[in-house]
């Protein structure tokens, strides 16, 4: 009997097995062809950007032994511990992402002077405070309060042109203003320390540890930043951002891991091993007198101005600043509008012809070529409204329109994934549509919405065509000072560098720019993936 079944099974197996295997191989190949091509390109570009062709094989061997072998061994060992490798990866990402965030914040304060930031923030904070206080202590309705807040905010930021000067203008023109260091500590470090304190208090369910942690963060970051400022070339105001973003998130992650009994704290040794391995490798290379690479992608490349004649001293700093400012404009425009549209379409819109028309056309807009959005920006913002061509605001608006349909569609998907039972529970309690959206739908959909928005931002940060159409300067020599100034962007700068006469631009500087841009993009995608994973764990 058993033999019968066996022979039958093998007969059945023989019929299709070859085809199945062939199909599997073809499908596998088609999955890998894109990744393989991109991997080869990345490897080539990295090779060029770091100028690795001159390097002695012994140099690679030293770093392989000092850095790669210990890290790989530790990773293997960590796989056996509960969540070990995950903890290690998280702490490494926290350090790396924190460093990138510190750089981003530092670049922001290069483009927007701390004094301008202070003069804008103080009136905004005052108006917000007044609005909240009115809501708490007077029976004034929400609508009236919002209108009052909007009017006050307009007055505070813009004044009445020619009649009343704006509050921020007045503040900015004061003769004695706090130093950059004080401003950054008061407006960035203090809220961050308060958030850390609140988080610690929430986790420990006690006020005291929270107060202690908040105070420690404030004092520690301020002191460390001042110290870094004194010993390096950074101004104290910028230096504060390094410990704040670079170390505080990693420290919180480490603290939570040590507290948790289910996760192995051994994973925290992974970033330590990487750091120590790099130092040991550097020391060994130095002691052995091995020639290392002279990478095109170095500190000078990231912080210098562009240079059309000398590839060795060429930099992309203004383009990095321009890209960051563009992203801020894109987020501020596309996120609220996109999420609002998604909420309307999913939660409010009746299912009729008009809604279907809008829906179909949003999908169509997502496929419109980016150069068309550039043309739109040129026609509307520059020619019709007379805004300055090539300015950050115009570029940001064109890119914002470009990714708006993507943001809407991904936000719709996130909202749709909130279970109907959650909405029913809320409506059944007598919640209005808006209360349901705000209290139930949006909190549950937010990780998905953020993931989609970050991925869309990644698309916007690499766009070149719209910026060409609105005549963004491709080799602007100065650093943009605010949102109305013309600014280059990274992809545009790379495009321009590729057409310079000296071959070193094409073989060194362009690859360095590409690697810079890819590093930013991959970091953003990494954050999106972490958010998505966390979302899936929760639901």
């Amino acid at each position: 009997m058993a033999t019968d079944t066996d022979s039958e099974a093998s007969v059945f197996g023989r019929v299709s097995r070859k085809k199945v295997i062939a199909l599997r191989v073809v499908l596998l190949a088609s999955s890998l062809v894109g990744i393989a091509a991109l991997g080869a390109l990345l490897a080539y570009v990295t090779y060029q950007a770091f100028d690795l062709q001159e390097v002695a094989p012994a140099w690679f061997l030293v770093y392989f032994l000092a850095l790669v072998v210990p890290t790989a061994a530790l990773s293997l060992w960590l796989r056996g511990r509960p969540d070990g490798l995950q903890v290690g990866a998280e702490s490494a990402i926290a350090l790396w992402g924190g460093t990138m965030a510190a750089a981003g914040a530092g670049i922001f304060f290069v483009a927007v002077q701390p004094v301008t930031w202070f003069a804008t923030l103080v009136p905004v904070a005052l108006v917000a405070g007044v609005t909240v206080a009115l809501g708490r202590y007077t029976p004034i309705s929400e609508t009236v309060r919002l209108v009052v807040a909007a009017v006050l905010l307009g007055l505070a930021l813009f004044g009445l042109p020619g009649v009343v000067p704006s509050a921020s203008g007045l503040l900015g023109s004061l003769s004695t203003l706090p130093s950059d260091f004080v401003i950054v500590v008061a407006t960035v470090v203090l809220p961050a320390a308060a958030a850390v304190g609140a988080y610690v208090a929430l986790v420990r369910e006690e006020r005291r540890p929270g107060l202690v942690a908040g105070a420690l963060t404030l004092v520690g970051v301020a002191a460390a930043g001042y110290g870094i400022g004194l010993t390096t070339g950074f101004s104290p105001g910028d230096a504060v951002l390094i410990p704040l973003f670079g170390l505080v998130p990693a420290a919180i992650h480490a603290w939570r891991t040590v507290q948790s009994e289910a996760r192995s704290a051994a994973g925290l040794s992974l970033p330590v091993t990487i750091g120590a391995g790099s130092l040991v490798g550097a020391a060994a290379v130095d002691a052995l007198g091995l020639t290392g690479p002279t990478p095109w992608l170095n500190w000078q490349f990231l912080t210098n101005l562009p240079n059309k004649s000398f590839p060795e001293s060429a930099g992309v700093f203004p383009a990095i600043v321009g890209s960051l400012l563009l992203m801020i404009v894109v987020v501020v425009l596309a996120f609220p509008v996109g999420v609002g549209a998604a909420v309307y379409l999913e939660e409010y819109a009746p299912d009729n012809r008009f809604t279907r028309f809008v829906q179909v056309n949003i999908s169509n807009l997502a496929g419109v070529p980016s150069v068309v959005y550039g043309l739109l920006g040129l026609a509307i913002f520059i020619n019709t409204f007379g805004m300055e061509s090539g300015s950050v605001a115009v570029g940001g608006m064109a890119l914002g329109l470009l990714i708006l349909p993507i943001v809407i569609i991904s936000a719709q998907e996130a909202i749709r994934s909130v279970p109907a039972s959650a909405r029913e529970a809320s409506y059944g309690m007598g919640a209005t549509r808006w209360q349901t959206v705000r209290n139930v739908v949006l909190p549950q959909a937010m990780p998905g919405i953020l993931t989609g928005t970050i991925l869309a931002l990644g698309r916007a940060i690499g766009e070149t065509a719209p910026l060409l159409m609105i005549a963004a300067p491709d080799a602007y020599l100065g650093i943009p000072d605010g949102f109305l100034a013309p600014a280059a962007a990274l992809p545009l700068q790379i495009y321009n560098l590729a057409f310079l006469p000296q071959s070193a631009f094409r073989t060194g500087v362009v690859p360095a720019g590409v690697v810079t841009m890819l590093a930013i993009l991959l970091t953003m995608n990494g954050i999106a993936i972490i958010l998505r994973n966390r979302y899936q764990n929760d639901s």
Binding site: P419, A425, G428, M429, G430, Q435, V440
Partner: protein
């Protein structure tokens, strides 16, 4: 703390005035709906028809539900008992394809009148669903949700404690009110949903097969709880489980195929000596 000491003086939105100030004169007069003569009538349906697109889900249903009692709706799947429950707090409004005709009065006021805001209505009619559906918020915030959205000026801590006690959940969760409601077991989640439904002190509590997704122990806890709730609330419960209806309800309405209300009477009468042969067949398991 007595149950009446919270929520009853809640400020209701202006839209709700029409509903709130309606005089409580509803009785069994009118077109003689099936009914029982003890106590005041809270919910009175008169000729309710519901269609989902072209398909009729309820066919001319009329019945009157008395105050502070448990009324069970039983019947085979697809007979319209859940649809009827959802007519009472107008949850069917959320379904585009649903169309409701007929009168359904809450304390004498037709809830399908133009001047009734379904949001205001649902603040007076709590609902518990088949699948436990706590919000992914803390236990405290789950129970306080109704108070917060209705902007009730009350001692939230006291209301949350009282509601959880009434839902027989307080002893199990009093030390971890700030943990997520979704971390509780299925039976605890459903009791949390009941606490959430009664926290704003509604007049009627609708329950749509509240124990069908639970194990026997959790089911019996929920049943005990429902019997206790009838002291203060009018409970209308849809159930598949006839023994459950027999155990906990005062009145039973039997729906059979086609969305018709076949018989509605005291539970004892329905289960011991029903007038309708089809009901008898259904109760004894020969049909359905």
């Amino acid at each position: 703390m007595s149950h009446d000491s919270f929520g009853s003086d809640s400020p209701d939105p202006t839209d709700d005035d029409a509903l709130i100030e309606t005089d409580v004169s509803a009785g069994l007069d009118g077109d003689d709906p099936a009914g029982i003569d003890d106590g005041a009538t809270v919910v009175e349906a008169d000729g309710i028809n519901v269609w989902y697109d072209d398909e009729q889900a309820l066919d001319d249903v009329s019945l009157a539900v008395p105050e502070n009692s448990v009324t069970a709706m039983i019947g085979p799947s697809g007979c319209g008992k859940s649809t009827f429950l959802r007519c009472i707090n107008r949850m069917n409004d959320l379904i585009d394809a649903a169309r409701v005709e007929g009168d359904l009065a809450l304390r004498g006021k037709n809830v399908y009148d133009d001047d009734v805001d379904p949001v205001a209505l649902r603040r007076r009619v709590g609902m518990v669903f088949q699948q436990p559906n706590p919000f992914p918020k803390s236990i405290y915030d789950n129970v306080a949700y109704g108070l917060k959205i209705q902007d009730v000026d009350a001692d939230y801590d006291a209301v949350v404690e009282e509601s959880l006690k009434r839902a027989a959940l307080w002893d199990e969760v009093k030390d971890r009110l700030d943990e997520s409601g979704t971390d509780l077991s299925g039976g605890q989640q459903q009791r949390l949903c009941i606490a959430r439904a009664i926290a704003p002190d509604p007049e009627v509590v609708l329950m749509d097969e509240p124990a069908s997704a639970l194990d026997p122990v959790a089911t019996s806890q929920i049943e005990d709880l429902i019997e206790g709730l009838a002291d203060d609330y009018t409970v209308i419960i849809v159930t598949h489980n006839m023994q459950q209806a027999a155990r906990i309800s005062d009145q039973t309405a039997v729906f059979l195929t086609g969305g018709q209300l076949v018989e509605y009477d005291d539970t004892e009468k329905i289960f011991e000596n029903p007038d309708n042969d089809r009901v008898e067949d259904y109760i004894t398991g020969k049909f359905g």
